[in-house]
Amino acid sequence: MTRVNFLLALALLLSSLFLVRTAYDARRLFAELDKAKDDGARLDAEGKRLEAEREGQATSLRVERSAREKLAMRTATPAVTVYVHDGAAAGVGK
């Protein structure tokens, strides 16, 4: 009888230790998961910021200035535009 009691007490002790360990693991993993989610959200926000920055770099003002000053482009007018009819475009494939 004493031996059974002793075994049961030992099992209880081991089970308690295991429980503590599992609870600890669960919390650690959850914290990691949460951190990963946070990182995900942060990267997402960062992506949005970069997207906004890219748009900021490609505003009409900047494009126009670069086109004029760096590439020496001019605004197209109908006088320097050749209008091609759709029919002609369809004929090219033949």
Binding site: K48, A52, G56, T59
Partner: protein, 586 residues
């Protein structure tokens, strides 16, 4: 000796075996009373246990949870505002906001000085924020750049933290500032589309309840998480390129003519969409320090003025619509003046006999008055109302004004006469552009929209297509050689429109040296695609006629807009292409 001491001790102690108290019989009520007391105690304990475990269980659970649970807010992302092609006009980005626990802050004098410099605040102001030793929270600076926070971190001051907040970015900057508007630091729309669509844009914050450990890490989630629902994106009808170009042109024109301000409105006639709405002076939405009302005002929608000659085509149209005149009917405008009651109305230059078309082309006041005086006041009022004068534009945009159009019953004959050439009533530039869609759409007034329209809208029928076409022909003459605005001409596209120039009103009188010049027109004139209205306020270097000041802006905006929209030119253009590519063979 020992025996005596023993005896003495025995005499002082009680002999229990012979205690008279024990000998007496205990009364039975005493034991019963004790049992009852213990029983009662058990009942109280049991009752309390029942109360805690069953009756008030939720309360205690909640109380317990409060001790260890933290509710975290999941902020919703404000919707973006885009142009018709999806280019960003406003978007939210996550930025650090810096805060401190004042009692924890340990910083040397030098560190504090550097912190104040980084945050661009006065050192005294920073000291004030950090002075309260009991305060547990103080914003140091909200919504700073990422690099600023990195530099602050590098200072290594204890007790300073960051939290993430969203800040609005406006890539198109000042060119679309009046249109897009802006938000305050709490992310609430204050102006423009940001204000008009606040409900749609803002979204709903979510929340989650968690357990945190000693280090502040989240270790467990409690209950269900309420996800944040992000705000809707708003797709405007605006074309960012057209908007930018219109802004640039009006800005240049204001500078060139040393004017006070200017506005441009571009409407798509086919859909009623607002393609551009630009004002100068404008502001940079990202830096709103030292803003003045002048910069903030969306003049195209909020400033009203007497529309002057731009009203005449409506009078001619109605006179034709009701069969009173035809485009070739002759009207005697000599000697260049007409008297109504005790007042005399003059033309700027006497013209003699003019056809109705020429009345519009030469912008004769006398001709317009003679046509208008054949009409009932009610007819004129109804026409004006139908095309939107004196009516608030049906536009999802804050601040649009109604203008002034008095009820026809109170018109005196002289007022009816002056209204025929646009005095005694007032309108905004936007209303004027909107009204001109009646000519561009073969007699229909288009409902206007700031948002992209999937399908063309049905307009309100006001004039017959034949009348609208006849008026367009007159507008073509007015913008042609011999008209008032030959500078409105473009390369490749036929245009038509009407100029307006007026002395500005100050109180009840007109000023002698302050003018407002404007031009409203459409292109291509045979099948109009856009209506463009341009207004320049107080041109200051001698030129002040609409044809000289506003028409060139109209010409440039029309040219660029039609090219951007891919409308083929309807006029023959002498090609200036110097080299022709040889067609490749396959």
């Amino acid at each position: 000796m020992i025996g005596r001491r023993k005896r003495g001790a025995a005499a002082r102690s009680v002999s229990y075996s012979s205690s008279p108290l024990l000998a007496s019989k205990t009364p039975p009520w005493r034991s019963k009373f004790l049992v009852a007391l213990v029983g009662l105690g058990s009942c109280v304990l049991l009752g309390r246990a029942v109360h805690i475990q069953i009756v008030g269980n939720q309360f205690y659970l909640d109380q317990g949870e409060k001790r260890y649970a933290h509710e975290l807010e999941l902020p919703a992302l404000r919707g973006r505002i885009t142009d018709r092609h999806g280019a960003l006009l406003a978007t939210s980005v996550s930025v650090p906001s810096i805060w401190a626990i004042p009692k924890d802050v340990q910083a040397s004098k030098e560190q504090r000085r550097q912190l104040a410099r980084l945050l661009v605040v006065a050192p005294a102001e920073l000291e004030k924020k950090l002075a309260d030793p009991n305060a547990r929270f103080a914003w140091l600076k909200r919504q700073v750049d990422e690099t600023v926070w990195q530099q602050v971190q590098a200072l290594g001051i204890k007790g300073i933290y960051e939290t993430r907040e969203y800040r609005r970015k406006y890539p198109e900057g000042e060119s679309a500032a009046h249109l897009v508007g802006f938000t305050d630091v709490e992310d609430h729309g204050q102006e423009g589309i940001e204000l008009a669509f606040q409900t749609e844009l803002q979204g709903r914050d979510g929340s989650r309840t968690v357990v945190k450990d000693r280090l502040g890490r989240v270790v467990e989630a409690i209950g269900e998480q309420v996800d944040a629902s992000n705000g809707q994106d708003i797709g405007l009808a605006i074309d960012a390129k057209v908007q930018f170009f219109a802004y640039q042109r009006v800005r240049d024109a204001v500078a060139e003519h040393r004017a006070k301000a200017g506005s441009v409105v571009v409407l798509d006639v086919q859909t009623g969409e607002v393609l551009a709405l630009a004002n100068y002076p404008s502001f940079n939405p990202a830096d709103r320090r030292n803003l003045t009302g002048k910069q903030l005002r969306n003049r195209a929608l909020t400033d009203t003025f007497e529309p002057g000659s731009t009203i005449k085509p409506f009078i001619a149209a109605w006179a034709m619509e009701t069969g009173r005149v035809t485009p070739t009917t002759l009207i005697q405008t000599a000697p260049g003046s007409v008297t109504i009651g005790s007042s005399t109305i003059h033309d700027a230059h006497p013209h003699g006999t003019l056809t109705v078309a020429e009345v519009i082309q030469k912008s004769s006041n006398v001709g317009a008055v003679k046509m208008a005086m054949q009409m009932q006041p009610r007819e004129m009022w109804e026409l004006f109302t139908q095309v939107g004068f004196g009516q608030k534009p049906q536009l999802q945009f804050p601040g649009a004004v109604t203008g002034r159009l008095r009820p026809y019953k109170s018109w005196r004959p002289i007022e009816q006469a002056t209204m025929s050439y646009g005095y005694g009533m007032s309108t905004s530039l936007f209303q004027l552009a909107h009204a001109y869609t009646v000519f561009a759409r073969d007699g229909e007034v288009m409902p206007v929209s700031m948002l992209g329209q999937a399908a063309p809208q049905a307009g309100i029928h006001v004039l017959s297509p034949a009348t609208a076409r006849a008026v367009r022909e007159m507008l073509r003459l007015a913008a042609g050689p011999g008209g008032t605005a030959p500078k409105a001409q473009t390369i490749g596209y036929s245009v038509g429109g009407k100029t307006g120039t007026a002395r500005k009103q100050e109180g009840k009188a007109y000023t002698s040296d302050q003018y407002r010049a404007w031009f409203v027109g459409m292109a291509p004139i045979d099948r109009p695609r856009i209506v463009v209205a341009v207004m320049i306020d107080e041109p200051g270097n001698g030129m002040y006629f609409g044809g000289d000041v506003a028409a060139p802006v109209f010409s440039q905006v029309v040219q660029q807009t039609l090219r951007t929209l891919g409308v083929p030119p309807d006029l023959d253009v002498k090609p200036q292409i110097v080299a022709t590519a040889v067609q490749e063979s396959f």
